[in-house]
């Protein structure tokens, strides 16, 4: 091998210098030349052809230039002297327009012909211009080069409104710069999470909060429909939902595309980027490519670090010392002053991955490490990025971190100090005055004292001395101290909501109120969730708790709803749905029955069944047909029966005093009134009501969540019954004299249940857990309690009594019902 190499060099020395032409005077092109010069300075005569009319500068530093933190001179990498000193011919402001591969020469726009022996394409990338009307108006700019920055600065001089389309790295940096230059900035982002390629939901939420605090308006999940102009200049951005945002300038930062037109027109193999091998050679052996324009092993990169690696590989190959490029692991930092954010590797937890998450709500810190086979494969850090580089090194080197694991999330300083076989040993070695809980300033001595005075569980320690009661980051330390102090006598705490949290249902509900938590990601952050976006247990629970806590304010998260509540029908074992229209108090009429019969025939429903709750259930409806079925039922005056929801299901009645010779009161009438009052309400679990007209109790009111048994002197109100797996007969709550009192007590009881029970806890186990006396005390001790609870219930109902079927019929969330498309074989072509 060595002999071979030597021969090549000798050949090169004997011949005149080879002509190396670089298309692109950007960071990749110049770096490639630098790397080649460093290896074999005399080998090539180099010509660089640049499209921009200036020397090479550090493009990633354009953001600080926009923000006014740096000047153009600060970010120049190679000044004119560098080109001269190294004998490089630089042609600027004259882009290459064609490659003649057979003749081995390139043509520039001015008609200049440049012959080459080796050609390097470093054409970089182009900003993606979203294809909407008005994207060519004056005042619509991209954020790619110095000219763009100049355009933005010019616009900013006049002040006004800026809209940045794209909430990725580039968009947010543009927004930051424009805001510092005095503009009012709105960021319009298609995805629900800012920088979703680099951040998970939790970190994205923290970032959003900080940007909003700085006065940016952040619109996520926002799709731009058009850019509106006036006199040829941009005036506003119109979103898909019709909102219009005034704009004096619009910055397109919706992503970049490898710039491949030149290569593709020359017949060089391109996919998303210019396809290169590990030596950065394209499908033409004389043409190489490097930087953002290339596609290597299926990947295109839009960050700077891979570019350095690529340039090394390319230079190695061109100087006969190949060092093939193996692809890059990338990391990202946001260049917005005051916001510390770091992301690297793969952090969408996959098979066999484990998450280590630490949240410090008080400091606004979120740290997440993703481990696989005892190696770090990804990390997201927000608020405290001090250890970003250390984690990134461990990640890049693929180091086994098993030994560091216990203290890994606390950073390099901590982990190296505690890298002992037993994590408790490190804690044991701490002095008594060592601080354990930074949030509450609790020392090791105080924690141990607290444990010795009887706090034998984590919760007891939290209650006793406040250690680990705030951010929770010291929880492992406190647990170690419990283990050290008590040996094996640590008491395990009450059951947590799910594996994502150490808090119980009660804790979570209380903290949502106390801390005014109003968004799902906010709850997860403030309460130190150990997973990035929860699980199928906690998402629906949190969604319900927020919905209950903030009626009219919290926006229901459909992605956190079980399928039945998302599709407003009951999924069956074959994947079809059953549909139950509401029949108030179990009363129906010919018109409704006809409509149901018609639906059954029209959609070939294989079964119709009368339910236990006095309703009619239509089986076998496909999800695509649901809106049409509902439209037909709506047309006959019927609304959703909520047979699918953790909600008020049915109010079952008997015929009462109208017909029955034993009836004492109008049980059907009261049943209908109760159903009209309670329908549509979301609950911790399903909720069934019945009203019986006499103690014979034909409506089976004493196995319902709330049951009314009419007697001559009034109404007996029963609670906490269940006819399910474990039958439980109701407890008598009280007796009232009037329908109004019965209705108020019903509303108050439901609200108490809604506000207190755990998600998925029926009233029967809830009453059993809380005790009948407690329930009675809440409702009956304070004469105003019923009024207050009933008022809260009715307020909440004012937002929930909209027929969800009608909304779907009107076209809401059509995506949940329609297929994406259908795939059919191309039969027509076969026939020809």
């Amino acid at each position: 091998m060595n002999a071979q190499t030597r021969i090549d060099i000798n050949v090169a020395e004997r011949h005149p210098r080879q002509k190396l032409v670089v298309v692109g005077n950007g960071m990749a092109g110049c770096r490639a030349v630098e790397e080649i010069l460093a290896r074999d300075a005399g080998r090539y005569s180099v010509t660089i052809l640049g499209a921009e009319p200036r020397v090479n500068y550090n493009r990633i530093m354009l953001s600080p230039v926009l923000a006014g933190e740096k000047t153009f001179e600060d970010i120049v990498i190679n000044d004119t002297a560098w080109y001269a000193d190294n004998g490089i011919a630089l042609v600027t402001g004259d882009p290459v327009v064609a490659i003649d591969r057979a003749g081995k020469r390139v043509t520039t726009r001015s008609g200049h012909l440049q012959p080459y022996d080796k050609l390097i394409l470093a054409t970089g990338s182009d900003p993606f211009i979203i294809p909407v009307p008005g994207n060519d108006l004056a005042g619509v700019v991209t954020f790619r080069d110095l000219d763009d920055v100049d355009r933005m600065l010019k616009a900013a001089e006049r002040g006004g409104d800026a809209v940045v389309i794209g909430g990725g790295l580039l968009g947010l940096e543009a927004a930051h710069g424009l805001a510092l230059r005095g503009m009012t900035v709105t960021v319009v982002h298609l995805m629900p999470t800012l920088m979703e390629r680099q951040l998970d939901e939790a970190a994205g939420w923290l970032l959003r909060q900080e940007l909003e605090r700085r006065g940016h308006t952040i619109l996520t999940g926002a799709n731009t429909r058009a850019i509106l102009g006036s006199d040829g200049h941009v005036a506003a951005v119109e979103l898909e939902d019709g909102r219009r945002i005034p704009a004096d300038i619009v910055v397109m930062a919706a992503g970049i595309r490898p710039s491949i037109a030149l290569a593709r027109n020359a017949g060089i193999t391109c996919e998303r980027g210019i396809v290169v091998d590990d030596n950065m050679v394209t499908s033409d052996p004389s043409v190489l490519a490097v930087g953002e324009c290339v596609q290597h092993r299926g990947l295109c990169y839009g960050l700077v670090a891979p570019l350095w690696d690529m340039c090394r590989a390319l230079a190695g190959y061109l100087t006969d010392s190949p060092a093939p490029y193996q692809g890059s692991v990338t990391s990202t930092k946001l260049k917005v002053s005051g916001i510390d954010l770091f992301s690297a590797g793969d952090f969408a937890s996959g098979e066999g991955c484990e998450d280590i998450v630490m949240r410090d709500a008080a400091r606004g810190v979120y740290k997440r490490l993703v481990l696989k086979d005892d190696r770090i494969i990804g990390t997201v850090l927000y608020g405290d990025t001090a250890d970003g580089n250390w984690y990134f090194e461990l990640l890049r080197k693929g180091e086994d971190v098993a030994a560091l694991r216990a203290g890994l999330i606390f950073g390099q300083a901590f982990a190296n100090g505690s890298a002992l076989a037993d994590p408790n040993a490190a804690v044991a070695a701490l002095s008594d005055d060592a601080e354990i809980c930074g949030c509450n300033g609790v020392s090791k001595g105080q924690v141990v004292g607290c444990i010795n005075s009887g706090a034998h569980s984590l919760d007891a320690v939290r209650a006793g001395c406040k250690a680990s009661a705030s951010c929770g980051s010291c929880t492992p330390l406190v647990e170690s101290l419990l283990a050290l102090t008590l040996g094996g006598a640590v008491e395990s705490g009450p059951k947590t909501l799910c594996k994502c949290t150490s808090f119980t249902h009660d804790d979570v509900r209380r903290l949502i109120m106390e801390r005014q938590l109003k968004h799902l990601p906010q709850v997860m952050q403030e309460l130190h969730w150990s997973t990035p976006d929860g699980c199928s247990t906690c998402r629906p629970a949190l969604n319900y708790y927020l919905l209950c806590a903030w009626p009219g304010e919290y926006v229901d998260d459909q992605a956190s709803r079980f399928v039945n509540e998302r599709l407003h029908a009951n999924i069956q074992k074959d994947g079809t749905y059953s549909v139950v229209p509401r029949m108030w108090g179990g009363i129906t009429n010919p018109r409704e029955l006809r409509a149901i019969a018609d639906v059954v025939e029209k959609y070939n429903a294989p079964m119709v069944k009368v339910t236990g709750g006095q309703r009619i259930d239509i089986f076998g409806i496909r999800k695509e047909d649901l809106p049409a079925v509902w439209a037909d039922l709506n047309a006959a005056g019927m609304v959703s029966g909520h047979a699918y929801g953790k909600a008020l299901r049915t109010v079952k009645t008997c015929v009462g005093s109208d017909w029955c010779r034993f009836g004492t009161q109008d049980s059907t009438g009261l049943g209908v009134k109760i159903e009209k009052m309670t329908w549509g309400s979301w609950m911790p679990h399903k909720f069934k009501i019945a009203v019986s007209g006499c103690p014979r109790n034909c409506a089976e009111a004493t196995i319902k969540d709330f049951g009314v048994v009419c007697v001559d002197s009034g109404y007996e109100l029963h609670i906490g019954g269940n006819g399910g797996i474990k039958v439980r007969v109701t407890d008598l709550l009280c007796k009232v004299a009037t329908e109004k009192e019965a209705l108020d007590m019903c509303a108050a009881f439901i609200q108490l249940y809604r506000e207190d029970a755990h998600y998925l806890e029926r009233t029967a186990p809830w009453v059993a857990r809380r005790g009948l006396d407690w329930v009675k005390a809440q409702l009956l001790d304070d004469p105003d309690a019923v009024t207050r609870l009933a008022r809260r219930f009715r307020y909440s109902q004012s937002f929930s009594q909209n027929d969800p079927w009608a909304a779907r019929v009107a076209g809401e969330r059509r995506d949940l019902h329609a297929h994406l498309a259908e795939v059919r074989p191309m039969q027509l072509e076969d026939a020809q």
Binding site: L190, G350, T531, A559, G575, L816, E822
Partner: protein, 109 residues
């Protein structure tokens, strides 16, 4: 000329945290998932347990919980997670220019 990849439309037609379905004439229905943090996956729309429609499950991280019996299925590998055993076929998917592409041979296999 039939391309290797089948374009099934823009990414915007699937809301984050949800999935949509793609019936295949003479083949298995496919579920295309869009996770909360913005990744896309495609699987046969059948739980390995009792063939429940995975497209209708709650999506969290990169797994989905089947709506029928709460099996948790990895969107990356199609494997059942936790104690359960079973696997749903995955369909190679790529995103290009804001559009979703499925590997044609896997769709019409």
């Amino acid at each position: 000329m039939i391309g290797k990849w089948l374009d099934i439309g823009p990414t915007t037609q699937i809301e984050p945290g949800s999935a949509r379905t793609l019936p295949v004439f003479g083949g298995e229905e496919i579920a295309v998932f869009h996770t909360v943090r913005g990744e896309f996956y495609a699987l046969v729309n059948k739980c390995p347990h009792k063939a429940g429609p995975l497209s209708q499950g709650i999506i969290h991280g990169d797994s989905v919980t089947c709506p029928l019996h709460n099996w948790r299925i990895s969107l990356r590998t199609g494997e059942a997670l936790g104690e359960d055993k079973g696997c749903t076929p995955t369909i190679p998917l790529k995103i290009d220019g804001g559009r979703i592409f499925l590997l044609r041979e896997a769709v019409v296999a």
